[in-house]
């Protein structure tokens, strides 16, 4: 069964169209990364999947309509929203008590094990923890929930690089298995590159690219072209060209690898480079429109 299935998903806030007919299919056991500039519609898409906002079009998450069956859906879905904050007035052990009390699928022992790996003191107030520790606590709470779908919206925003790396390591090693599905959005695309199984690039409410990472590696090739080969390379219709240290780097979609290898040094592009190519601007440029 598909974990998430959307057809013609649309959402408008007044005149602003946040999602403009999105079709989406996420199979169980995948880790999907949604990448896009600010205001591209990433959070709106996630909010629709989580039943936090109403929408037009068809959307099924774990076979349920997220808006109408939200309460049942939340037993099988866990999420960290980009601006979700754990309440500052709560104690760490109170947070454990509360989630254990209300969530039938919460494994308190597992949360305790995860917390023991951090420096978080059980007797602390959340308001006294550092930003990184609050995220660690939130992740420990969420990972101890036996959910079928985990949604993470900018989960590492504002954390330093050590915390960010540890965050994804923990997620992969201690949580992910092939019965679960993870959907994650982030601006730090280079950090999730090796984590993802699928990639979706979204801009102005539309999907501009959607593929698996195997497909990504097959389709997209970046070539640092030998100066004398530049014209030959350009004739193969690159989707993007940039200059680094006076050398032309051309990005190709679906051109034979062997043919490109003759033109220069070949490598698989980073998601960030592809993102720039397909959305025609730097990450964040969408917000300035």
């Amino acid at each position: 069964m598909a974990c998430i299935e959307a057809h013609g998903l649309r959402k408008a806030f007044g005149k602003a169209i946040a999602l403009d007919g999105v079709d989406l299919l996420v199979e169980t056991g995948r880790i999907l990364g949604i990448v896009g500039p600010n205001g591209a519609g990433k959070t709106t898409a996630l909010n629709a999947m989580l039943g936090l906002i109403s929408y037009e079009g068809d959307l099924k998450v774990l076979g349920r309509d997220p808006w109408r069956e939200r309460d049942q859906l939340m037993r099988d879905v866990a999420f960290i929203a980009d601006i979700a904050l754990l309440p500052r007035w709560m104690g760490v052990s109170q947070a454990l008590d509360y989630v254990a009390g209300v969530h039938p699928r919460f494994d308190r022992a597992k949360a305790e094990v995860l917390l023991a790996k951090t420096t978080i003191n059980r007797g602390s107030w959340i308001g006294d923890l550092s930003k990184g520790m609050v995220t660690q606590l939130h992740l420990a709470l969420v990972m101890a929930i036996d959910a079928k779908l985990l949604v993470l919206d900018e989960p590492t925003l504002g954390l330093d690089i050590l915390f960010r790396k540890q965050f994804y390591d923990t997620l992969l090693n201690d949580y992910f298995d092939h019965n679960r599905t993870i959907v994650v959005t982030t601006h730090q695309v280079e950090e999730i590159e090796n984590v993802l199984t699928d990639l979706m690039i979204i801009d102005r409410g539309r999907i501009v690219l959607s593929c698996s990472m195997e497909e990504f590696e097959m389709r997209f090739v970046e070539v640092m072209v030998h100066p004398e080969q530049v014209d030959a390379a350009r004739s193969l219709k690159p989707i993007y060209e940039r200059q680094v240290f006076g050398r032309a780097i051309l990005l190709f979609d679906g051109v034979d690898h062997d043919r490109l290898a003759a033109l220069g040094e070949v490598r698989t592009p980073g998601i960030a480079d592809l993102f720039v190519a397909v959305s025609g601007g730097l990450p964040g440029a969408g917000a300035a429109r």
């Binding site: 936090l52 037993r75 979700a84 904050l85 500052r88 209300v102 039938p104």
Partner: protein, 303 residues
């Protein structure tokens, strides 16, 4: 029976669902008490102030009071106990009102609403657990603190009268503390459903308004009241508010001059209270407000 398909009404499926809902409401109520510790602190503070005032005034006046004839004396000794109960009751109302005004606003303000919404607790269960604070928890807190306060006051009176066994005997015999407490508990139990629409209104506003919840809660009532006075030259709104705030006293007690039992001024009359249309109408409005608050929470995100 076996021909019926397994339906949602199957007790084997309902029982765990009800148990889970009950557990969620229980933990949600505890969460409210963790968050809003003023539910205990405010009544305790008022009780401490009342006690301090009582101790001071009694220390000064006890020798004079003991010289008075017994009938008059008992009245003067008893009065602070009633005043203390009254002060605690009023405190309870203000704590409840401010709690309701903040109940659905603070979680949007501090963005924790997205954390709460990531857990499988329905909006209605959340609103009901929040409604339980003014309707059930606070009256019990106020009652417990008031009884403790009055017992402490009695103990102090007793200490002041040490050395005079006749006075102590008179104090014990004439101080109807148990009766007073039951009477007070009944009063609190009557206020709860009577004020439920007020609490429901405040909670609905706290779920709706983006800021200045107090203003949004009070201003429309004032505007309607002024229009009522100026345009139609009537006082319907004023009477309506008077009845809602003070009517419970007239409806819950029996003022017939056959004298109260247990030495109390008025007798309780639960049957009259339960047959008052104003009580049930208020409850119906309260239900509407709380359901509206739950609906609003569904659509609202962080501020």
């Amino acid at each position: 029976m076996s021909t019926l398909p397994e339906s949602a009404l199957d007790p084997r499926r309902i029982a765990p669902a009800v148990a889970l809902a009950a557990r969620q409401v229980y933990w949600s109520v505890r969460r409210e008490l963790w968050e809003d510790r003023f539910i205990f602190i405010a009544p305790l503070t008022v009780a401490a102030i009342v006690l301090a005032g009582f101790v001071l005034s009694t220390s000064y006046s006890i020798t004079e009071v003991l010289k008075l004839p017994p009938a008059l004396r008992q009245d003067i000794i008893e009065k602070p106990y009633d005043l203390a109960a009254f002060a605690m009751m009023v405190t309870g109302f203000f704590v409840a009102a401010f709690y309701c005004l903040d109940a659905l606003h603070s979680e949007r303000r501090d963005h924790s609403i997205l954390f709460w919404k990531s857990l499988p607790v329905s909006d209605l269960a959340t609103v009901l657990s929040k409604a339980a604070i003014p309707l059930v928890i606070l009256p019990l807190v106020v009652f417990a603190i008031t009884v403790t306060l009055q017992l402490t006051m009695l103990l102090f009176n007793w200490v002041m009268m040490l050395g005079d066994s006749r006075n102590i005997a008179a104090l014990w015999n004439h101080m109807p503390l148990l009766g007073k407490s039951l009477w007070f508990l009944y009063g609190l139990a009557a206020i709860s459903p009577w004020y439920a629409p007020i609490y429901g209104w405040l909670m609905m506003i706290s779920g709706w308004a983006r800021r200045a919840t107090l203003l949004w809660a009070v201003l429309p009532v004032i505007v309607v009241g002024v229009l009522d006075r100026l345009v139609s030259d009537t006082s319907h709104v004023q009477y309506f508010l008077q009845y809602r705030f003070f009517g419970w006293y007239a409806e819950a007690f029996d003022f017939k001059p056959h004298g109260g039992h247990l030495g109390l001024p008025v007798a309780v009359d639960p049957l009259k209270f339960l047959s008052t249309p104003g009580m049930w109408l208020g409850l119906a409005f309260a239900a509407g407000f709380f359901v509206a608050a739950a609906r609003l929470r569904r659509y609202r995100g962080p501020l």
